[in-house]
């Protein structure tokens, strides 16, 4: 990176964090610290909700996925608008009416303490473990791209987030996220424009899309239903609906965002803004990946995009074999450029026969390059069984640092840092609020002063920040456990959603039945996930439906020992 890029990176980060800290000054009581005094307008909520969901990996993975697999990933989000509607109708008015700080607080009012404690515990377990990965995943990519030790990138991201989240609480998180998302939108748009301009003379936006389409990268819609494939319309709408409803309705890192709304209407508008923007936003991010793919039809891509892995194999006994593959790949890339130009000319001439012939020839070269890439990856595995042979996350940043103009590189690297910090800040804030509200205030110290709870919240943020930072620093040594941590959310969300569905819609079911049903459901879901019975996207639907069915069946047989305090909602 050039000096200009470093300056752009530093100034962007400083301005955003400075703004968040400035706007959150004077945060004194618990209401201000945990829910921003319930005073924020809809656009704050909308952008904050989006920033919480969009981790750095969203901006790194999605273009890389489009590059290697096409745009079908966008279907994953088709259930989101429907989930937002259900949230607006049910969850938002209830949480606002009861003025809760956490989603789990409501469950004690509806059921009992043990159900509240169980869901809060499941959330702390899942979010506490996964937040370390939220920091680690972009850190390792940035370290490879910037050629900096991963410990420094991890410490840099982690420490900055802890400092401003501890200082300003929810308000600092929300204000920084608002600016973050604005800069992310602007940066990604600029990147898209620059990619189109980098295409060879005579190849425009339309041609690049046609080219990608002919190579099966514009595979946005797949109507074929397959429970083992999560990227089709039906998995996206049904499986995605349950996943998004679980995430936005029961994960405190999201609930905490829309609890900051100044009214039910403002929270609803924020969520509906997300419902309208999320899919087009994902589409545009994937489109950038497709444009990068088209760009690489005319320019030679590296055989493998992760420079650290390439460095390792070149220092090993397999270096000679790898370099031969690189030479063959470069030769194939030259062929590809010729065939791609032929296809563009055929497309412009409108001659269908010529288009078909050119398409077949280009596809043949594409198959050749794919095979060479697979051989390269196999070589890496032979050299080191633990080698990371999926370079999807490296495609976009590798392209950015090599081809984008000075200044824009710094801005796009800043976007990765910002996205990572945005989702981490929400996670730390939600971990702290659940720890203080559902454990400290409820069980340990019921009658303390407001100031005591604010101090406890700050300490809890520091505590979780350190835990997550340690997780991030040691994530590289977790091996297969890392994958398990990534899947943990799918194992847990469905069960928690089921508990909330029973709470909202099945008033006759009591606490004991729900608690037992939750334990049974959790065991079944973990088993199904472990044995890969269905794609993980379906685990949320399975967990939710199973819990509702089990709770309904066992409820008449279970005697409720405690007095219930039911809310008429």
């Amino acid at each position: 990176m050039s000096l200009t890029d470093w300056i752009v990176l530093a100034v962007t980060l400083l301005i955003i964090i400075g703004y968040g800290v400035y706007k959150s000054r004077g945060t004194k009581n618990l209401d201000q610290y945990l829910v921003g005094g319930r005073s924020l307008p809809w656009y704050h909520i909308g952008l904050s909700v989006m920033a919480t969901q969009a981790s750095a990996i969203t901006f790194l993975s999605a273009p890389g996925l489009a590059y290697s697999d096409g745009m079908r990933f966008v279907q994953f989000y088709f259930g989101l608008p429907l989930a937002m509607i259900v949230l607006c109708i049910t969850f938002v008015p209830i949480f606002h009416k009861l003025k809760v700080y956490t989603a789990y607080e409501y469950l004690e009012q509806r059921f009992d303490l043990k159900t509240r404690a169980l869901t809060a515990f499941l959330f702390l377990l899942q979010r506490g473990l996964s937040t370390g990965i939220t920091i680690y995943a972009p850190s390792i990519i940035l370290s490879a791209i910037l050629q900096i030790n991963v410990v420094y990138t991890t410490l840099f991201i982690g420490t900055l987030v802890i400092v401003y989240t501890v200082y300003g609480g929810t308000k600092a998180v929300s204000y920084t996220q608002m600016l973050q998302m604005s800069i992310i939108f602007a940066g990604m748009f600029l990147a898209g424009v620059v990619v189109v301009n980098l295409l060879p003379h005579g190849v425009g936006f339309k041609n690049s899309l046609q080219l990608a389409g002919k190579l099966n990268r514009i595979n946005i819609i797949d109507w074929h239903f397959d429970p083992k494939n999560q990227y089709n319309v039906w998995s996206g709408i049904i499986g995605g609906f349950f996943l998004q409803l679980s995430y936005f309705g029961t994960d405190q890192s999201q609930v905490g965002r829309y609890l900051t709304g100044s009214s039910v209407g403002q929270s609803r508008l924020g969520l509906l803004m997300n419902a309208m923007i999320k899919i087009p936003m994902q589409f545009l991010i994937l489109l950038i990946g497709v444009l990068v793919f088209s760009f690489y039809q005319f320019n030679p891509p590296p055989l493998f995009f992760n420079r650290n892995e390439v460095k390792q194999i070149k220092a090993s006994a397999y270096a000679g074999q790898y370099q031969k593959l690189e030479a063959a790949y470069a030769n194939a890339a030259r062929q590809k450029k010729i065939k791609a130009n032929a296809l563009v000319n055929a497309l412009n001439s409108g001659n269908n026969n010529a288009v078909d012939a050119a398409q077949t020839q280009l596809q043949q070269v594409q198959t050749q390059t794919d095979t060479l890439r697979k051989k390269g990856m196999a070589l890496m595995k032979q050299n080191n069984a633990l080698a990371e042979v999926n370079d999807t996350n490296y495609v976009f940043l590798s392209f950015v640092t090599k081809y984008l103009p000075k200044g824009l590189v710094g801005l796009l690297i800043a976007i990765v840092f910002l996205a990572s910090m945005g989702s981490t800040a929400s996670a730390l804030n939600s971990l702290a609020s659940t720890t203080v509200i559902d454990i400290y205030k409820r069980v340990i110290n019921k009658n303390a002063t407001d100031q005591n709870y604010v101090t406890a919240s700050r300490l809890a943020t520091v505590f979780w920040g350190i835990i997550c930072l340690l997780m991030a620093l040691y994530a590289g040594q977790l091996g297969n456990l890392l994958e398990a941590v990534n899947k943990l959310g799918s194992y847990i969300y469905g069960t928690i959603l089921g508990v909330f569905v029973v709470a909202f819609y099945l008033k006759h079911i009591k606490g004991h039945a729900v608690f037992i049903a939750a334990l049974i459901t959790e065991a079944v879901v973990v088993y199904c996930g472990w044995k890969e019975v269905v794609a993980y996207l379906w685990l949320n639907a399975l967990g939710c439906i199973l819990l509702v069915v089990i709770a309904s069946i066992i409820n008449p047989f279970i005697k409720q020992g405690t007095v219930q305090v039911e809310q008429d909602v």
């Binding site: 809809w42 608008p81 607006c88 389409g213 514009i218 319309v233 009214s263 403002q266």
Partner: protein, 41 residues
Amino acid sequence: MTPDRQDLPKFIKSWNQFYGIIIVWLVFLIFIFWLITTLLK
């Protein structure tokens, strides 16, 4: 007008109408994506 309704944009009469618009928007997006997929195959 209830306080809840006051938050709505002026051109939308009720929350249910807004939810309907979101569903229409989703259907529209899926249709456009299907069209792009088909045309660029």
